[in-house]
Subunit: 355 residues, 4 copies
Amino acid sequence: MGNIFRITTWGESHGKAVGVVIDGCPAKTKIDLEAIQFELDRRRPGQSKIVTQRKEGDKIEILSGVENGISTGTPISMLVWNEDQRSKDYDELNDRFRPSHADYSYQQKYGLRSVAGGGRASARETIGRVAAGAIAKEILKQKFGVEVLAWVESIHDIKANIDAQNVTLDMIESNPVRCPDPETAQKMIERIEAVRKNGDSIGGVIAGLAKGVPAGWGEPIFDKLEAELAKAIMSLPACKGFESGSGFGGTLLHGSEHNDEFFVDDERNVKTYQNNSGGIQGGISNGMPITIRAAFKPTATIMKAQKTVNLNLDNVSISGKGRHDPCVLPRAVPMVEAMMALILVDHALRQEAIR
Amino acid sequence: MGNIFRITTWGESHGKAVGVVIDGCPAKTKIDLEAIQFELDRRRPGQSKIVTQRKEGDKIEILSGVENGISTGTPISMLVWNEDQRSKDYDELNDRFRPSHADYSYQQKYGLRSVAGGGRASARETIGRVAAGAIAKEILKQKFGVEVLAWVESIHDIKANIDAQNVTLDMIESNPVRCPDPETAQKMIERIEAVRKNGDSIGGVIAGLAKGVPAGWGEPIFDKLEAELAKAIMSLPACKGFESGSGFGGTLLHGSEHNDEFFVDDERNVKTYQNNSGGIQGGISNGMPITIRAAFKPTATIMKAQKTVNLNLDNVSISGKGRHDPCVLPRAVPMVEAMMALILVDHALRQEAIR
Amino acid sequence: MGNIFRITTWGESHGKAVGVVIDGCPAKTKIDLEAIQFELDRRRPGQSKIVTQRKEGDKIEILSGVENGISTGTPISMLVWNEDQRSKDYDELNDRFRPSHADYSYQQKYGLRSVAGGGRASARETIGRVAAGAIAKEILKQKFGVEVLAWVESIHDIKANIDAQNVTLDMIESNPVRCPDPETAQKMIERIEAVRKNGDSIGGVIAGLAKGVPAGWGEPIFDKLEAELAKAIMSLPACKGFESGSGFGGTLLHGSEHNDEFFVDDERNVKTYQNNSGGIQGGISNGMPITIRAAFKPTATIMKAQKTVNLNLDNVSISGKGRHDPCVLPRAVPMVEAMMALILVDHALRQEAIR
Amino acid sequence: MGNIFRITTWGESHGKAVGVVIDGCPAKTKIDLEAIQFELDRRRPGQSKIVTQRKEGDKIEILSGVENGISTGTPISMLVWNEDQRSKDYDELNDRFRPSHADYSYQQKYGLRSVAGGGRASARETIGRVAAGAIAKEILKQKFGVEVLAWVESIHDIKANIDAQNVTLDMIESNPVRCPDPETAQKMIERIEAVRKNGDSIGGVIAGLAKGVPAGWGEPIFDKLEAELAKAIMSLPACKGFESGSGFGGTLLHGSEHNDEFFVDDERNVKTYQNNSGGIQGGISNGMPITIRAAFKPTATIMKAQKTVNLNLDNVSISGKGRHDPCVLPRAVPMVEAMMALILVDHALRQEAIR
C-alpha cells in the first residue's frame, strides 16, 4: 500500500508474530517508540471491559531503519510477538465455516485456511497498520502540521451529536468507547455491555477528521484523495461503508444547498462556508478539514447457535466459544486514524515530488 | 489502475480528444466495437431530455491491440475526438472558482488549471473508463460467466423498491433515468425536469450488482475486493459515498441478525440465506452476488448566483451559464458498471495467476 | 514504466498509429514541440543512406496535457500516425518464424501474432519512448541542469576512442552514424554500406552519459539507479548487454586500481580522481558523471536464406525481402538517451518527495 | 520487487536482524526450511577460507505464511538475527567516506548514514533475497519444472571454459570458489588467496542458466524478460555489468552468424541450432535455456591506504581494518540464482494470469 510511503504487513493471529515493513519513510524523521506503543495500546485487546478480554501485551519492537531514535531512510521493520496462542479454543471450528467470517472464502481461494484465530483475516493483522500509522502521524505533524483524529459517532442506534472541529484526542480517550460526547458514551457502553451479556454483537459508525491539510494533495483521476481514503478504510476488517463529506446524506440536498461557496477571510485565506465536500474537490484537498465516516458491521463472532456448512458440505450448526468482542468500534478508532494518516502522508510526499 | 488488466486514461474536456490505453488484456479476446459504442452511448450527453444537451457523437476509434476483431495481447489504445469545443461559454469563468468544482484545488495543486469545461476534472474523462469497461465486461462474460449491472435506486428522496436479483439490462434501459421500476422512474424523471427548470440540481444513489462471480476473487488485506471496488467507484466524479452489502444500514443490526448463515442447496452449492456481506467476506468473494451502492452528490454546476472568490482573492459572485446536467445519475450508471467490471476482471486474472 | 514520471506506450508497426501517455509530468513544464520532433527525426527511418529507407514522416501530435506550450499536470497523450503500411512485403512471412525475431516467442505467448512489420515487437514502438524522453530531457535541463547524451562507440570491430567528457550534441549529429570521432565515423559508415550491399547486418556498442546529476538520486536496494538504467536500456529492441562505469572491463582490475578515491577540489566540491563507479555508488548517484554502455546485436532482418520452422512445424527456409536496416545503432542513439532521461527524471522527482 | 510474486527486504548489517516479506506466494507450496537454509549457507560469511571470516550462523526463522511446511497464500515473513555486531571495528570510519562504497552517496541522499558495516548497503541485505529466492526455486521446480543455476566463470583474468548445458549443482558446490571446472577453480582459489594476503581484492564474472523455461514467459515492452533480469542482477551489490545471450561479444558477429536458426527435432520440439538469443527473443522466452552473465567489480574494502574526504570536506586518507572479503564472487553465486529465480517465478505467474 502506498506509492512513496509504502507499507507491507504480514502475520497471522496465531502464528509467531505480526509485523510491518515501511519503505520510503523520509530520513531524519524522529521516531518515538512510546508514540507507537500508545497507538498499539489503543488498539489492544483487554484494554477495557467493553472489548475482548484476550490478554496481549502487544509490545512493539523495531528491527531496522531507525538509529538513535531517528529514521535512516531505509526500510523500517517492526513486529509484535504473539503471546496468547490458545488454539484449543478453536479446535471445534476446524471443519465448520463461521458465518460472515472469512473462513469459507479463504478456503475457496487458497484451498486451505488457518483455522486458529481467523489466521490472516484476524484483526490482529492491523497491528502493523497501526504501528506504521503512528509513524505516518509523526511525519504529518512534524513536516506538515497535520493532525488526524477519529472517534465513535454511533453505536447501533445511539448517535452522538458532535462538533467535529472542537474534538481533541483527550476528549476521545476520556472514555473506553472513544466517543467524545461523555453522556452518549455512557449509553453506548451500557448498550455494549448488555449485548455482550446476551452473547450478541453490534456495530456503528466512526468519524474521521484531518486538520491542517493544505490545498493540493491528491490526484485527479484514479488516485483521488477520497478514493484512496475509501480503499484504505474499506480494507479494515468489518468495514462495510465509507463516506467523504456529505456522503449518502448529501443525496437529499439540492445543488444550491450542497455547494460549498468560497470566501476569503480576514487573513486572506480561502475557505468555504460549509464543508459538504469534506475538504476534497475533484479528488484534491482544498484546504478545509478532511472529514470521512466509516460503517462497521456487528462483529461476526457471537455466542449463539447458527446454521452453517462444514468441509464435507453438510448442513450443520455452530456456536461460538471463547472470548469475543461484542463491538469492534472502540478498537477500530486508532485503525481508522492510522489508515487516514498512511494515505495522507503518501500524498503529501507525492505532492512534494511534482511541485 | 489495475494490477494485471491495467488502464491509463488521458484527455481534457476541451482538448483534442480523450482516450484510454489498456495493458494486460488477454490475447484472443473477441473485441466488439458495437458493444463498446453501446456503452459510450449510454454515457453520452444529449441522449435524452433529462441530461445535458451538449451534442457529442462520441464515436470510439481503436488504434492498436486489436486485429480482425480479436485482441492481440498488446496494449489496446482507444480514443474519442472532441467535437463540441465551445470554450466561449466558459470565458467569464476564467478568474473565478466555481463552488464545489475542482477549480480551486487544481489551481492550488498545479499552479494553473484548464478553465474550459473543467479540463481533466470533466466527466468527459470517464469516456476512457467506459470504453475499457466494455472490454472488461466482455472478458468477464466470455471467460468467467459474470454479468455486471447497475441502476438508479434513488433520486433525491424518491427511492425505488427493487428486487435486485431479477433486474435485467432491458429493464434498466427501458427509461431514460435508468431505474428498473417504471413507476418510480417516471417520478424521478419529473423531479429532474422540475429541478432543471429551476436551474438547480439533485443527486441520488446507484446500486451495482455482479452475478456469477465465483468464490475466491479478491485479496485478504489492502486489496480486499470491497476496498478495490470502493476506490474505483469513489474515483468517479461526484461520488461521495460507497457501501458494500449492508453498508451503513448494517450498523443498525445485531450480529445475530446481520450474520449470513450458510447452507448447501440441492445441487451441493454453498449459499447464504441472506447476503448482508454483499458477496464478499474477508475481502474475498464467497460466490453470492456482489452488491454495492454509491452516493452521487447533486451536480455542482447550477444556474443560480453563488458566492465565490477570484484569482485575486476578492469575494465575488458567479452564476452558471451554458448547458448543465441537472442530475448525473442516469449517465453515471454505465460508469459504475465499467468500474466494477474493471476491478473484477483484474481480480479474476490475479486469481488465475496463483491458482 | 516509472514511479512518479510514468509512461505507457502503445501501437504496432502496421496499425493505425503508435503513441505514449505520460503521467506525472510536473505542471508548468515548457513543452517544446520542435524539441520532441527533433528527437523523433533522429530516430526516423530514411534519415540517411545508412539506415532503412522506409519513408515515414513521424510527425508528433499532442492530444492532451499541454496548453499554450505548458504542461498542465494531467496526462500528456502523444501519437504518430502510421503512413507506410506496405503489409504486402510481409505476406510470405505469414507462416514462417523469422530467426532471432520475436515471431515464435509471441506466437507461443499469445497464441497469435501480428505478422506485418513485427507488430508490437517492431522498433516503431520506440517512437513513444523517444517522444516522452524528449520531455524528460526538458525537465532535467530546466529544473535540474542535467544533460543526457549518447553516441556510437563501436560498430562491429571498429571502435572509436572518445573523450566522453568533451562530447557535444553537435559532434554526435555531425555524421549519420552518430559517432563523435569523425575519422572513425567514416570507417563505420563504409562498413555499414558494405554489409548492407552484402544483405547482412552488424551491431555495436553505444555509450551514454549524464552530466550534472547531483549526488543522492537512486534507491538503495532493488531500484538502484544502475539497476533501473539497466532495465530501461535492456528493454530496447536488439539490446543484449549493459554496463555501468567500468562494467565487464572492471573485473580485470584489482580493488586498489578500481576504487575511486575521493578528493575535495578548490571549490569545495567532492569528486573522485577516476570514475569506475560510473557516477553511481551503492545504487545512488555520487555527483560524478553517469556513464553507461549498451551492446546492440546485429539486426535480425537479413537478405540471406536461413533455416526456420513454419506454423505446421515443418523445417523450411526463409529469405528476407523488402527494406532492411543493416545496423540499428545510429537510430538507437536517441532511444538510449530517451531511456536514460526517463529513468533520471523519475528518480529526480522521487528524491524531491523524500528530501 | 515483483508483480505477482513480490518481495520486500529490510535490515542493516549491524541492526538487530535482516529479513524479507514475500507477498503472492501461491498457497499449498511445499516450503522446505532446509532448502532455504542450504542457500543461506552458500551465501554465508566464514563458509570457506577464501571468503570473509566473520562468523555468522545466519539461521533463518519463518514468522508467518507457512503452516505445517505448506504456504497458506498469505505473506511469508522470514528473518535472520544479527549476531556479530562488532561495530568497534568501524569506529574510525565514522567521519571518512570509504572509496567506492555507498558512504558518500548515502550521506548526500539521506543527510546521514549508518556507519557500522555499511548499514543497508551491506551485502547482508541479500539474506532476504536469497531466502525468498529459495522459495522461488521451489515453485519453479514443483510447478514448472525449471532449474536455475549459476557459477563463477572468471576471476580476474582466469577464465574457465565450461559447457553450460552439462553443469550441475554438485559440480558448482564441489569447490569453494563455485567454478564447475576443478582445475581452473584451483587456480582461482590460489589467486584469491594471494590477493587477500596482499590486502587487495579482485572481481570476476558469474554465469547464470535457467533450464526448462517454456516459451511465452516475459512481456513485450518495458518488462522484457531480459530487462527484468538485468535490473534484478544489477541490483546486487558490486554488480557493474549484465549480458543476455551473446551480450557484448555478439556485437562482433554479423547477423548471418548471430541469428539463431530454428529447426524441429524428432519429438516435434522447436529449437534453435545455437543460442545467441540466450533463450529470449523480443523479451519473451523461446523455450531454449536462458543464459546470462554478470560482472562483479573487485570488493571496495581493501587493507591499503587510500585517499578520501571526511565529513568536514578535508582531504584525508583511510586504511581498511577488520576482516574483508577479497572476492565476493563465491558468495554471489547463490544471490544470482536467487534473483533469476525471483524474476522467473513472477513472470511464470504473470503468464498464468493471461493464458
